[in-house]
């Protein structure tokens, strides 16, 4: 069988809405299936890369292919394959949607109207909520949950869906350790049971670095791409995080220590 690529990016350049260059000279390819992390500090173009690959933003130069489909011409096909978790603060809280309604979204959005939930849909939703230990909150209004709980529900939403690519934009930002561990474990378990690609945008590789296969270090252009241990290199990390970056070894794994712990966002 022919080798499939999750991402094939050639000479990509993308601008932010304000006209600044978000990405330039980006070239890389990642084989499918994989668990991939896109890592970089705030404003490094991580979310922009994800949105470009989904056709939400048009590149000013170059192209992105997702599983062989072009992000501009064939974004409809890409979106059929993707389950997407936006940054948590992009979710409106003025509607008292129940937790179950949020989780069902990933399944119902791929159906034609009137998008009724079948018993299989409900079962999948329940099962994925169990994975993040939120099954008890099935009937609770989503806006009443804490930030970490909301994030877990959104991850469950991605797990409940169908489609070979999960894309998560900063799913660990602003969550406590309990929620972080739960999310990381759920993603790891899911990946070992299903042949799917997981793409996670994060400014902190540490919580997931034992799980991921491919890491893309990004600072508006590709700083490095490779396995997590190769990327845990002081000189590489200094390039994206500045001179305060350090690498610490603990229990056979390398971890990165920086002064950066902000939440990334771009509107």
């Amino acid at each position: 069988m022919e080798q499939q690529f999750l991402f094939e990016v050639e000479d990509l350049a993308v601008k932010y809405p304000n006209g600044e260059l978000a990405l330039y000279n980006v070239n890389f390819s990642i084989k499918s299936p994989t668990f991939m992390a896109i890592v970089g500090p705030n404003g490094s173009g991580k979310s922009t890369l994800l949105k470009t690959s989904l056709g939400l933003i048009k590149p000013v130069r170059g192209q992105v292919k997702v599983l062989g489909y072009d992000s501009v011409r064939e974004n409809k096909k890409i979106r059929k394959l993707v389950r997407y978790v936006p940054q948590r603060d992009r979710i409106g809280l003025s509607v008292p949607l129940k937790v179950k309604d949020v989780v069902l979204m990933s399944r119902l959005l791929k159906k034609p109207p009137p998008r009724f939930a079948s018993s299989k849909d409900n079962e999948m939703a329940r099962e994925s909520l169990k994975r993040v230990n939120m099954a008890d909150l099935w009937d609770r209004p989503f806006p009443e949950l804490s930030g970490g709980q909301r994030q877990r529900v959104l991850v469950a939403r991605a797990l409940a869906g169908d489609g070979p690519i999960l894309m998560l934009d900063e799913p660990l930002a602003g969550t406590d350790h309990e929620s972080q561990d739960m999310i990381v474990e759920a993603l790891g378990d899911y990946r070992s049971e299903h042949e799917v690609n997981i793409v996670m945008v994060t400014h902190d590789l540490n919580p997931i670095h034992t799980l991921v296969q491919d890491v893309l270090l990004l600072k508006n252009t590709v700083v490095g791409v490779g396995t997590p241990c190769d990327m845990m290199d002081v000189d590489l990390l200094k390039k994206i995080y500045g001179p305060t970056a350090k690498v610490v070894e603990y229990a056979g794994h390398k971890y990165c220590v920086t002064h950066d712990s902000g939440v990334d966002r771009h509107d």
């Binding site: 989904l54 939400l56 409809k76 979106r79 059929k80 993707v82 389950r83 997407y84 978790v85 936006p86 992009r90 979710i91 409106g92 003025s94 509607v95 008292p96 949607l97 129940k98 949020v102 979204m105 990933s106 119902l108 959005l109 791929k110 109207p113 009137p114 998008r115 209004p141 009443e144 869906g161 894309m167 509107d267």
Partner: protein
Amino acid sequence: MIDILIEVLSIPFVQRALIGALLIAIVASASGTFLVFRGLSFMTSGVAHAALGGAALGLFLQHSGLVPWFDPIIGALLFSVFVALVTGYAGETGMTQKMEVAVGVSFALSMSIAVFLMYYIPPTQVPQIWGYLIGDLLLLDNFDIVLLAITAIVLVLITLVFNKEFIYVSVDMEGSICHGMNARAYHYLMLITSALAIALATKAVGAILVYAIMVAPAAAASELIKSIRGIFIAVFVIALLSELMGLVASFTVNASPSAIAGILAAFSYVIAMQIKKLRDRVSIDLDQFPQHDEEATLVLREALDTSAHEGHDH
């Protein structure tokens, strides 16, 4: 007593008022709720005033002889759709703040057009423009009722079929697009149907009632009720009750029923806020606080001990 009631209810304009009240409550429930969900309550007054500009354009085109068949209502509907399109364009990324600004700007633009055109319309016709904003439940004619009924039926049908889409667009525009839904189309569909409903309802019952009934009950209900279906029902009930009480009161007090209904609807929001405050205060249950953790105290004491021994050079 009952005789009087039956007699009153058999008067045609009272019957029309009651049917009108019912239909407006339906419009408020189907459209007003989504606008409040979307954070766009200001759009109601924006659209109603834009309709005024459109009506002025219609009158101008008729009287200048440029386009004699151009009825003011066509202008009103065109302008309200214009507001919806500008608002929708500003909010394509799902950001409410930008939409509110767009409502404000397009509202200002259409009011300016209205005032500008008033100089070119015969002075005797000018009151007809302002008449767009003034209407009353007791002044409805049969045409108004037909107009309102069609509006309500179309609105309810669209809402029944596409309510999930409208909610998804309100909650997570980005996610909806990325999962392959044509979110942009639903985004515009929701805004345009709301705008048309507001313009038609304004034509029928007047701006005051539409402002109050489209916004206040939905705002009140979403403060208190935690299910979407519950909010739709509550909005309908609050809107209908305000209108009926307004009608009854207008027979005893010498005042417009729309004004009284508007005041009552606005009050429902104030009351809802108060109930919510009270409820928040009552629901703090002391038993829910966790017990003090003895172990944590021990660990803390140990930590303090060791750091005292080691010293610290910070």
